[in-house]
Structure formats: structure tokens, C-alpha cells
Amino acid sequence: MHLRRRLPGFSAAFCLLAMPLWLGCARSEGYIKIKGSETVLPISLKLAEHFTETPGLPGVSVTAGGSGVGIAALLADNTDIAMSSREIKFEEVTAFKLRGLEFVELVIGFDALAIIVHKNNPVDSLTMQQAKAIFQGKVTNWKQVGGADQRIVAFNRESSSGTYEFFKKKILEKEDFAALQTVGANGELIEKVAHSPATVGYVGIAYVNPRDVKPLRIYNEKLRQSISPTIENSLNKTYPLVRPLYFYYLKKREKAVAAIINYMKTQTGQELVRAAGYPPNPEFYRIPQSR
């Protein structure tokens, strides 16, 4: 009698305990996971919105972390697409090969890495050497690069971000940074630079908001003039700090992610890249004829 009365309780307990087993078999394939670089995030967010709002297309989840994490997650099969703001590293390629996995690389667009300062800072442009000296702590006063007599406060990014590695490779020529305050996220960096006149940082162009911060022009040695980081200057390759943005996915998952990959190769997909604030990939993008 009492046992019978307790049966629901028993079965409920049993179900709860058995649930993990059942779930082990029922992994959901309901959405495509994108994980990785924060620089690529604005594109992925727009992409996810588009896919969610269009009936018939699969849903998309976006998780941040950093380029390295995205690629590591792809390696561990924890994500469908890894977004990265740097090319896959050599040791990562070897890791894929060791596990017998084949990956595919897609350049979804480009980024003009911008060096940003407070909007009232009189400095308008820098050479690559000046930028290097600033981030290595060798130049410590704005006066030394043509600005006001004020100490320079440079912000660094988290060391596993692709942006950090690109900056280290391109500007610092792989030498070490000085001990700088680290900012975890792009939004936080913009906020900090916007509110303090002595600061300088570096960030993907989509995050630059001219109302808050001033992107510096960078001296192009071949053209002998300073070029500002804009989509146009990246497309005509005059801005020196342009880098590709990547999606990586596993060859064996090609079908599952085809919807996204194919979309990124279309004109509308590339317009989305442009709308997110990045230069599109000319391979898939026809520049509207305005002239």
C-alpha cells in the first residue's frame, strides 16, 4: 500500500538518476556552435541573428574566449566552427594532423587593426617603430611622438587573443611587451580609452567608435604617407595593419556547417561582414560601382 503510494516518488528519483544515461545518447544537433575570437564576434553575432530570424535555417550559438580557444575547441570537437583573428599556428596544425583530423580554412573577411587614443589627444598618426617603442615601454611620454607633455598609458590585450599575437608579430616583431595593464575585452578597452586622455590601446576596427575614441593613422613606408584605418583603405591595401579573419571547421563536418560556410561566400554574406564594420573578402565580394 505504502510502497504503491510512494511509487511516483520512486520512479521520479529513478528517472532523474537515469537522465544522464538517456541524454548521453540524445545529443542535440539543433544548432551550429561558433566559438573563438572576440574580434570576429561582431560578424558572428550578425550571422547568428540572421540565421535565427530566417525560417528554415539552423540556429547558431556564439561563445567567446579567444582565437586559441576556438581552435582548441575545434580540435576537441567541442565546437562546429572556430572563429579566429589569426592564422592557425604551426603547432596547432600538427596537433590536428596527429589526431588524423582535417580542417578547412575560410577567410571570411579582413580586419584593419586600429591603434586608438583618447579623442582629445593631439597625436594623429604613428609610425610602426613609434608604436613598437610605446608598447615596449621605450617611449613613455606623448611629447616624444609629437603630442602633449603627458605620460603614456598603454593597454594590452589578453595574451591568448589573436589580436595580441598579431600585434606582437607585426608591431613588436615578436619581441616582448612591457608590463602593461591587461584588458580582457574590447568593449572594456574602448570604455577605458574613451575616459582617460593619456591612454592608448589596439583593437579591431569594428569596435572603433569615432564618437568615443580616435583611431590613429599609421605611416605606410612604401607610400610615404599616413593612412587611416578604414574599410576602403584596407580593401585597397594601403593600411599597413590588415589581417584576415578566419572560420575553421572540420572537413568531416562540412555538411553540418555548409549553410553558414556557403552563406559567407555570397555577396549578402559579405555585406554582413561589412555591416559588422569589417572589410569584406574581395574574393566573394563585388565592390558596388559608385564612381
Binding site: H2, V69, F90, E91
Partner: protein
Amino acid sequence: MARQAEQRFGSLFWQAFIKACGYASSVLVLIIVLFLFSEGMGLFSSPAIDRELVAAVHPDNPITEIDEETLHALLGEEITTWADFRSAKVELVNVNNLEKKLKAYGLQGRPEDVLGQNFERLPLLLDSMLTVHPGMLIILQPHFVPQRAKQVNVGHISLGRFLAGRTWDPTRSPSPLFGALPLLWGTILVTLGALFFALLLGPPVAMYMAELAPKPIYRWLKPTVELLAGIPSVVFGFIGLVVLVPNIQVVFGLDSGSTVLAGCMLLAVIALPTIISVSEDAIRAVPRTLKEASLGMGATHWQTMIRVIVPYSAPGILAAILLGVGRIVGETMAVLMVTGNTPQMVGFDFLASVRTMSAAIAAEMGEAPQGGLHYKSLFAVGCLLFLLTFIINLVGELLVAKKIKQR
């Protein structure tokens, strides 16, 4: 009969279930410790270079093992010649300077063009370089190391260097630096500051609530303190970010308001509820007879508080403070959002920015590939954090337990 048997079975089942749950939850701590330490201690049985790399030298070089210290000295170019190998000049080749070294060797063009798409010509090339520069130290993936070169063992990362190292640069390639001292110091500094504010507010408020507050006011105060305890730390962090940080920047004329000070103020508020309610219990536990004796001797209420109640309840208040410290040390989100996240040694500078242990885990774990050195090092930081809170809480709990026994 049958009914009785059913009943008996039911009660036996539930009793067994209850016991199983009891024992299971009491060993849970052990399981957590086991997992944490098995991952974290892995750091100290790993060589001091990235796990997919090996170090190799000229076959005639007598060296067979490089310890961590020497490796860093070599990489930092503090050691430039091999002492017991014809004083040959150390020529370092690793992923970072490969391109530069190839250029210096006289090879022009992109590495892909020189070495083939998968760098398959690299071992051969290194082999010939090895003849020219016998002092070469190659740190690369094993399949790029030329056959002829001799692999040397790289010493393990030592616990001493982890605890006392002053540089936290976990992604430095090829040999990351895991000096947790800046993180530990960040935690200590933030805790000290938070404790200052919490001590200023906690015990007096507890005293007021236990001794002075009229009943209607107390009925409001108690839930207020509980509510403060219930507010999620991410909300405090957010408030800190939008209110405290900009104001600290303006008031102190700093370049960035993300400072230890901001963290201290937030953490003090977060620890207050614990400190207040545990101290209040301790103060209420003072026997009425003691108080009345003091008052009967003609002491004022204030004198009674200071001379009788405080000394009597001191262990309880101390326990409250320790439990509060436990909370402060482990708090993550609020610190992560306002202390500026810079792993650096700062001394006693409350206007500098630091990275605490908990913030380091939260900020870096999402970016550390599983099973790598960085991943393990964060678990090691987790172990350190666990031990710290464990000891603090244990002492706190023992003090509370002792007090209860006395009663």
C-alpha cells in the same frame, strides 16, 4: 503480512538511501580535492617547455639535461656560451625566431617557399645549420628536429618557482612562466584592503543590532542584511564598474580607475553580511548574568559593551572575520570586473591594478586549451586558492564550534 513486508522494504530502502546520500556528500570534498589536485599537480611533473616541443643540441654537446632555471637563462640570453662544450656560442632556434634565423643563414623568401608547404625540408636544413653552429639549441616539434641532433631532457616546473616566481606569463612561447606570486599578492592586497573597510563597518553594526536596536528597527535591519547577502556578486561588479571605477579615476586623478581600491570597497560590502550575522550571534551568546553583573556594578551600557561583551565574544567575532575573509579571498566576478586584471607585483599600492587568483582562473580558463600547461597551471592556482580558503574557514569554524561548546 504482505503489507508489513512492503512497509518494511520501503523504510529499509529509504533508510539506505538516506545513509548513502549522507556518506556520499561527506566524501564530496575529498572528490573535489582529488580532481583539483590531480589536475593541478600535473603542472609539476611537466617539463618546463610546451608539451609538444622538445629541446635538442649538437650530438657532441655533453649536456643531457637542462633544468628550468638554466632554460630561462638560455632563453633570456643571460647564458650565451656552453661552458663544457668548447665554449661554443649558444644559437637558439625556436618557433619565434625561426624566420629570422633562416634569413641570417642566407635563405630569403617566405618560409613556406624555402621549406615546403609543411616545412618538410626543415630538418635537413637544421642539420646543415648544426654543422655551422655547433652551439645550436633547437626547441621545436620533435619531427622537425634533425636525426643527428641529440634530444636533451628539460627539467620539470618546480613548486618553488610556481610559488615564488614573480612573473605570470602563461602563454609565453616556448617556455611559459608560471610565477603565481603576483596573483597571490593581488589576492592578499585586495583582502587586506577589503578587511579594513569590513572591520570598520561589520562589528559595530553587529553590536548595534544585537544590543541597541529597538525591536521594530531590528525587524527591518535583519532582512536588510540578508538581502545584501543575496545580491549576486556580478551585480556588485557591474555597479562597481559603472559607479566606483569612473569615480576613483576622477578623485585620484588616475589613468584608469580599475584599481585594488575599487575591489576592496566592493569586497567589503560582499563580506559584510557574513561578518555582521556571525558576530551578532556571538554577541547574543554572551550570558545575561555577566551583563547584568556589570550593569549592577554601576557600569554604563557602553562600558559593559567594551569591557564585558567584546572580550567575551571576541573569539566569535574573530571567527566572523575569518569567515568573511574566506568569502573575500574566493570572490571572483566583482574582482574580475574592477581590479584591472594586470598580473604584476605592485607592493602596497592600492591604486595599482592587480590580478587576483580567482580572477586569473576566470579570465584565462576560457582561453587555455585543455590538458596544456596553461590549463594545468590554472588548476594549480585553484589548488592554492582552495588551500587558502580551506585553512581560513577551518580556523573560523573551529572557533565557532568552540564557542558553542562553551555555551
